[in-house]
């Protein structure tokens, strides 16, 4: 068995050197660049032979190195260097070692792109032949690309999940027949508004003569009428209003920040007028109308959902009893003082 001896000097042919370390730089005794490997040559097409090392490179770490003697004193340490290249500097990891027994024979600086290998490969169109056979640069490139692909796959998965979630949420909040909100969505909207103290108008809408349409023309005709009614409700409300189908032919509309009774009455009148128009289905004419009860949150010292719904229902049944096809405001829903005429109208 051979014993390795300290201080033994190996003689390595230049070509072998180049294969082992294609990113090395040779420095002469005065610190000038005397040669470099084939891969380093690709980075400096203009040539750097004879250029002082500190003119071509800046040593970032350890800091304060600015002469060949400084560099020689740091032999064997891990260096961070930058090849000065105008606006496109290249960062390296490096190690410097004296060529023979001392720096007097010159030094060898071996370099690696480190983490910057991905950019370097792209910038200088390097191939696997440009790296030492032991270098993990190609594995690094592989990992970066594979990781990017995996991340994109995961992102696609996350986006699909998010889309499914949104669809499920919308479906859970929607009445499938009419596309209006359902009870659950209505409850959440009312809860949100009372909790935040937002004022709102509340309208309970019940179709008149709907049972007759169902009994006479069948459920398909009934469904068609309900969809048509939903269209009217859409048309007569704003995007921020919540319109829900809460029973077979019962609807609730919530109007955030809309508490003027007169205004709500006008809206209700328009709804009733539109719903009272004849609806054609399969060559038959269906006729319905609507009764509406209205109340507003600002007519209560402490608006309470159950109480408001009860009052809107009471107003709705008052409309029914008074002959249908009309809207009534709950008696406690006082109009704003600036509209005294409304009080008269409601009492009439």
């Amino acid at each position: 068995m051979e014993v390795q001896q300290a201080g033994q000097v190996l003689s390595v042919p230049r070509e072998a050197f180049d294969r082992l370390m294609p990113l090395h730089v040779l420095l002469d005794a005065r610190g000038r660049i005397a040669g470099y490997g084939a891969t380093f040559a690709k980075l400096v097409p203009e040539g750097l032979i004879g250029t002082p090392m500190f003119e071509a490179f800046e040593v970032r770490r350890p800091s304060g190195l600015c002469s060949t003697a400084d560099l020689a004193a740091r032999a064997g340490e891990r260096l961070r260097l930058v090849l000065k290249r105008g606006d496109r500097p290249v960062s390296f990891r490096g190690i410097v070692m004296p060529l023979a027994s001392g720096a007097g024979q010159g030094m060898i600086l071996n370099l690696s792109f480190g983490i910057g290998v991905v950019d370097a490969v792209r910038s200088y169109a390097l191939t696997d032949g440009d790296f030492a056979a032991t270098d993990l640069a190609v594995e690094m490139m592989y990992l970066v690309e594979a990781k990017t692909t995996a991340m994109e796959t995961l992102k696609g998965f996350a986006l699909r999940l998010q889309g499914d979630k949104q669809t499920a949420e919308t479906q859970a909040m929607t009445d499938t027949l009419t596309g209006l909100s359902n009870r659950r969505a209505l409850a959440q909207a009312l809860e949100r508004m009372t909790r935040s103290g937002q004022a709102f108008g509340l309208m309970h809408i019940d179709l008149d003569y709907f049972k007759a349409v169902n009994d006479t023309f069948g459920h398909a005709a009934g469904d068609h009428v309900l969809r048509r009614v939903a269209d009217v409700l859409h048309l007569e409300t704003r995007a921020e209003d919540v319109v829900a189908r809460v029973g077979g032919d019962e609807f609730v509309a919530v109007f955030p920040d809309r508490t003027e009774v007169a205004h709500l009455e006008v809206i209700a009148r328009r709804m009733i007028d539109s719903m009272s128009l004849p609806i054609e289905f399969d060559g038959k004419i269906c006729r319905v109308s609507a009764s509406i009860g209205i109340t507003t949150s600002d007519s209560y010292p402490e608006p309470e959902i159950g109480r408001m719904q009860h009052d809107a229902d009471a107003a709705l049944y008052a409309s029914k009893r008074a002959g249908r096809g009309q809207a009534r405001v709950h008696q406690d829903a006082k109009p704003a003082p600036s509209y005294p005429s409304q009080t008269d109208r409601r009492r009439a």
């Binding site: 991905v118 490969v121 792209r122 169109a125 390097l126 191939t127 696997d128 032949g129 190609v138 594995e139 490139m141 592989y142 990992l143 970066v144 690309e145 594979a146 990781k147 990017t148 692909t149 995996a150 796959t153 995961l154 998965f157 699909r160």
Partner: protein, 194 residues
């Protein structure tokens, strides 16, 4: 089995034979038409049901379908990801072949759950190799054969492949590299395009 493998089969069937064939396969195999998610894990039996369903609906032997799937992964997969990642394994086909044993490890580097076949290569000399494959997926060596055929094509090498059957759970393929420099290799750069 990681969904990535199931999903690859799904996309192979959909891209090669159309969405309606995939829907029929999904129905017969008891899988939702939306299919598989790459990063989820599925029971091993599911992929078998998918391959069996496709083989019976297309009236094709399971083995040739699996080999086509291997070829598809390298040559026809729309993003060309598999081809690119495999090309990192070597500068030419012999280099690629000589590092093929690293494949499962390379896969696990990125996706720890990815279960690629365990591969064992013997160099018999004269460009003749024997590859043994062990996998939880029965017949996986046919997919490997499809991949090898497509990669040889990619490197511009002419190879003869032969399936030697299965022995004690190990599938055996023989590989003869007939001519390495017959065609030009398709271009490949280490850096990603774009």
């Amino acid at each position: 089995m990681l969904g990535l493998i199931n999903r690859s089969f799904q996309f192979f069937l959909r891209d090669t034979y159309g969405a309606s064939l995939w829907d029929a396969v999904a129905r017969q195999a008891g899988v939702t038409p939306a299919g598989f998610e790459s990063m989820l894990t599925y029971d091993d039996a599911v992929i078998d049901r998918v391959i069996d369903a496709a083989a019976s609906l297309l009236r094709r032997p399971r083995e040739s379908l699996m080999e086509d799937m291997g070829t598809y992964l390298v040559s026809h997969e729309p993003l060309g990801t598999v081809r690119r990642l495999l090309r990192f394994s070597g500068g030419n086909f012999p280099e690629f072949l000589n590092s093929i044993e690293e494949l499962p490890e390379r896969g696990r580097l990125v996706l720890p759950d990815l279960d690629l076949p365990y591969l064992d290569l013997s160099d018999l000399g004269g460009g003749h190799f024997r590859l043994r494959s062990v996998s939880r997926l029965a017949g996986a060596a046919h997919v490997v054969m499809g991949v090898l055929r497509a990669m040889a094509d990619d490197y511009g090498a002419l190879v003869l492949l032969e399936y030697h059957g299965v022995e004690a759970g190990t599938e055996v393929i023989s590989i003869q590299i007939a001519d390495q420099s017959l065609y030009d290799a398709r271009p490949f750069s280490l850096g990603m395009v774009g």
